[in-house]
Symmetry: C2
Subunit: 235 residues, 2 copies
């Protein structure tokens, strides 16, 4: 039986915490730019849009980096979170699919700012290959494996149409990539050990629609009962 010590410095950081660390990092970066040297959990939590107990518990998973009665040193905390997230090293990212979205991503400043470097843009469309976007030459998808190997690409962003995504995914995983950010609206199947994160614009809208509908229902005198539909004769 694996006994998990309840120590800090335990390397098992909860997934929910990991997802919030970038948020704290951004808030802290803003503060350091405004010359703030020290921040309390209360203030940082407010800036990040979470409650302060949660913030403190999250940070406690990294170690004990605050000073009671005072708060956290902004610079130091930035460094600790960056290190934990692996942002002190430089990640080479390839973007596959240079349509509207791929272009937007290539030009997105937020990528470059924090340890990420767009190392390649790839597409299959001959009209697009050769274009210069965000200072990079768009290369043909045939070069995928070569580019990944030569430039040490470890994260691939898939911004292709849905139909091409699985195929691209298969090729990049075969080439040894184990981290994929997928914008195509499909469920990718990948070998064990490969992480896929998905960003799906239409899913987000659908979730909003759900809540919006519910708000509307509540205002206009309750749910529209009994639009009951006879079961069976649909098809």
């Amino acid at each position: 039986m694996i006994r998990r010590l309840p120590q800090a410095r335990d390397r098992g950081i909860p997934e929910a915490t990991v997802a919030r660390l970038p948020l704290y990092l951004r808030a802290l970066t803003g503060m350091t730019e405004r010359g703030v040297a020290t921040v309390s959990s209360e203030d940082l939590a407010e800036a990040a849009g979470v409650n302060s107990a949660k913030l403190r518990k999250d940070l406690s998973h990294l170690g004990s980096y605050g000073t009671r009665g005072v708060g956290y040193d902004v610079e130091y905390l930035i460094y600790q979170i960056s290190r934990e997230l692996g942002l002190t090293q430089d990640w080479a990212v390839a973007i596959v699919g240079v349509g509207n979205l791929g272009r937007a991503l290539a030009n997105y400043g937020g990528f470059v700012s924090r340890g990420f470097r767009v190392a390649a843009l790839l597409d299959s469309d001959p009209d697009v290959v050769g274009d210069r976007i965000a200072g990079l030459n768009v290369e043909h998808i045939d070069e995928l494996e070569t580019v990944i190997a030569r430039r040490g690409v470890s994260i691939v962003v898939i911004a292709t149409p849905a139909a091409a995504a699985q195929q691209v995914c298969d090729r990049v995983t075969a080439a040894g990539v184990t981290s994929i950010l997928n914008f195509a609206p499909v469920v990718l199947s990948v070998p064990d050990g490969v992480d896929v994160r998905k960003v799906d614009l239409s899913i987000e809208l659908q979730i909003l629609a759900f809540h919006e509908q519910r708000k509307a229902d509540r205002e206009s005198g309750g749910p529209v009962m009994a639009e009951e539909w006879q079961r069976g004769e649909s098809a």
Copy 2:
């Protein structure tokens, strides 16, 4: 005390379930296009990339729409999920900020396909105002309130630079919008009753980097045990 009946048709659908319904919907749509009339929880779960017990529990929150020994009627289930998500009605969406990302969103087919209609594109840049994108005229941000009111916009997508986002947010909430999809890398503060969903490209990358780093650590000689760090003399 409010006694919540453990019945199906209970309108309290868990958030986690709501977030998966669009996934099921997409899988089902694919099936109906391939002429599949009936599907088991096992197969649908596989297509959506979840486990089958979870799928069944999720669907059971909508009601009891399956047939034991047979499975679910694809068309009927599509209808039920669509209705629950509010996709049987037509949602007018306005996109504020017509940079690379805004353009990508305006052209994204997935929006239109399911009940969402891009009703307006707005920007503050005079060079962009007047452009025709995805069949729409880009309008000046000054028209924001008018456009929202006239076209019945109920969901606003913010795709502006970070610096402009809160201001746009304030204006659209003042105009009565209660659902916002935010792509700008800032924490928006909104009045009670307003739903904000956030899509943040760089956060997703940072989460991937964290896991990637961890995988790298593990391979290069196991967890770096006893990198124990003496507490206190850091900083």
